[in-house]
């Protein structure tokens, strides 16, 4: 794995909200085909880090470089709009589920196809051949993705009527529809029962085997330790450790961050 090309390279990323240093000089890299986890206690800045990567926040300092393994093109992401970043090939899910609640399950995934399709007003009104073909492809492709995430029996259901676990899977499906090479998952197992988590692990493995690289934030340590190739640990906006699951588990700084300092009487 170590000789695979680096697809995401973050150098000295910082994000300040006024005087608060939400992220302070964090480095991170992901190589093609890896599953990398970003962990840390609540409020460590993990989600802010995600928001900086995906363009929802503008980083205060630092560099984010994304390289497409399919054509080797690399782009600096700082200050780019979220939709441009998705177009380049990085998609995400949200910690607090952000589906389109009153749209159907299929339509939610079809939205993901938006940035890979073109038709606009003219095509919509005339419904010419190119538009019809494109539309049929959108539906077909979206249905395939729904099959993959196991929601193809509920295509016409409104997204808000799905169970919690199904909504999380739909979010992953919707992100996959944008054809990303790097997938960012923000707490994908939150609120799932053990059985659902197991299915999720299998799904993430499958997605990874198809050639997607994955960066995930997660609090479920069992899931993190079984899935990840490498782990980055953040606390108070700073990176405090990185390495393989075994290395991280034994790192004193990580133990301190999670369990607190030993107090000798």
């Amino acid at each position: 794995m170590s000789d695979s090309p680096t697809i995401l390279e973050v150098e000295g990323l910082s994000k300040y909200f006024g005087g608060i240093k939400a992220i302070d000089n964090v480095d991170l890299d992901i190589r093609q085909g890896e599953i990398v986890a970003l962990i840390g206690p609540n409020g460590a800045g993990k989600t802010t880090f995600f928001n900086c990567l995906t363009g929802i926040y503008k980083p205060t300092a630092g560099d984010i470089k994304l390289s497409d393994p399919r054509n080797g093109k690399s782009t600096r992401l700082n200050g780019k709009k979220p939709n441009k970043i998705t177009e380049i090939g990085m998609a995400r899910t949200f910690q607090n589920i952000r589906l389109f609640p009153t749209m159907s399950v299929l339509e939610n995934v079809m939205i993901g196809r938006h940035c890979r399709t073109k038709s606009l007003i003219f095509g919509a009104i005339t419904r010419n051949k190119a538009t019809r073909i494109e539309e049929a492809q959108i539906i077909e492709r979206s249905y395939e993705i729904l099959k993959k995430v196991g929601l193809h029996r509920q295509v016409n259901e409104q997204a808000r009527n799905l169970s919690y676990g199904a909504q999380r899977r739909l979010e992953i499906g919707r992100a996959l529809a944008t054809e990303p090479f790097l997938l960012l998952l923000d707490e994908p197992a939150a609120g799932m029962n053990p059985k659902e988590t197991e299915a999720l692990v299998a799904l993430i493995r499958e997605i990874c085997a198809e050639g997607h690289s994955i960066l995930l934030i997660e609090h479920d340590m069992k899931l993190v330790m079984t899935l990840s190739d490498r782990i980055f640990v953040m606390d108070y906006g700073k990176k405090i450790a990185q390495g393989t699951p075994v290395e991280v588990r034994e790192n004193p700084a990580v133990i301190k961050a999670y369990l607190g300092e030993d107090v000798d009487a």
Binding site: K81, N83, R98, F100, H114, C115, I121
Partner: protein
Amino acid sequence: MFPVKELKRSALISLWFAFLTFPIMVIKVDPIERIVHWRWDNMFFIAFGSFVLSILAKVFMIQKERRASRKKRKIAAEPLIQRIAREPRFLYPLVVACFAFGVSFPFLFSTYQTNIMTTALMYVVLGLGLNIVVGVAGLLDLGYVAFYAVGAYSYALLNLNFDMGFWAVLPIGGLLAAFLGVILGFPVLRLRGDYLAIVTLGFGEIIRLVLENWNAFSQGPSGIANIPRPGFFGMEMTFAGGITYIYYIVLVLVVITIFVVNRLQNSRLGRAWLALREDEIACQAMGIDKTKTKLIAFSLGAFWAGFVGVLFAAKTTFVNPASFTFLESAIILSIVVLGGMGSIIGVIVGALILILLPEYLRALSEYRMLAFGAILVIMMVFKPEGIISNVRRSYKFKGTNTPEGEIHE
């Protein structure tokens, strides 16, 4: 069966109403005779009427709750209209029947009726246009009438200054309004909900104030008169003939609008608008260009308003700023909300009700606006999602065992 508590409540309500209406309904000052008439019988009517009405409303609510709980136990039954809208074998004959009725309307009814219907149909188009912006894309626009005014004034002014005809100005009016939509769209793209509503409200007022005060440009509050009606290959037309002619132009415009809006709603663009309405951040994260999508919604909505504006000027042959007040925006918005956000059939029904009802309530003379207001309030209390709510398209695949009825609650 009917709880005593509710009877007490109703009695209190009726007392409160009697008290509230006391100054206007009971006291009548005769300034000539310099005496005060005390009309106590009015107070009795008010008290009794509000008592009965409040009981009726309560009974209705109780029944509605019962029906709702029964529905939960069984499978949710779909409203009749939505079932019709879904089944092509019901829908097509219905559409054909409506269209035939629309075409034969001027022959069946008087010129007066045709004229009212023309106005109602113009509001159908306005409603459908605003529906793109408010109902589908979820951008609350309170200044929609500004684009309507731009259309109307572009015909009036281009005709006055350059002697341009109706058919030449029709597309220009639409495009000018759409252009203005883009100009307005740019600065307000960051705003949402209440903030957007306030800015668009201000924009609507700016346009009206400019038209009212820039005398050299728009002839100010006195307006522009003698705008020619649309021509038909230079043919001379009688007054009644002219009205029928405009009716047909509007009817064609309605059909075109329905066609276009329907196609837009079930397209890539329409989905993007819906997604934008539901969650802006998720929408961007899915690769939708927020700026572009919003601007298209704004300008398309404005385009229809400009179109109808030109027609309005041609129909009334006179425009002045008083026709484009905030009230007009409010009526168009009510059409969309009352009819059902995002639903084409809903907006059409809403427009017909909101425009035709005040006309036919004329029998109630001075109470008609009161009755109209009451109907609106009752509608929104009992059916807040609008008369006909929007139905999302359903898709069929092999192995999908979801019954069709489940797409919509």
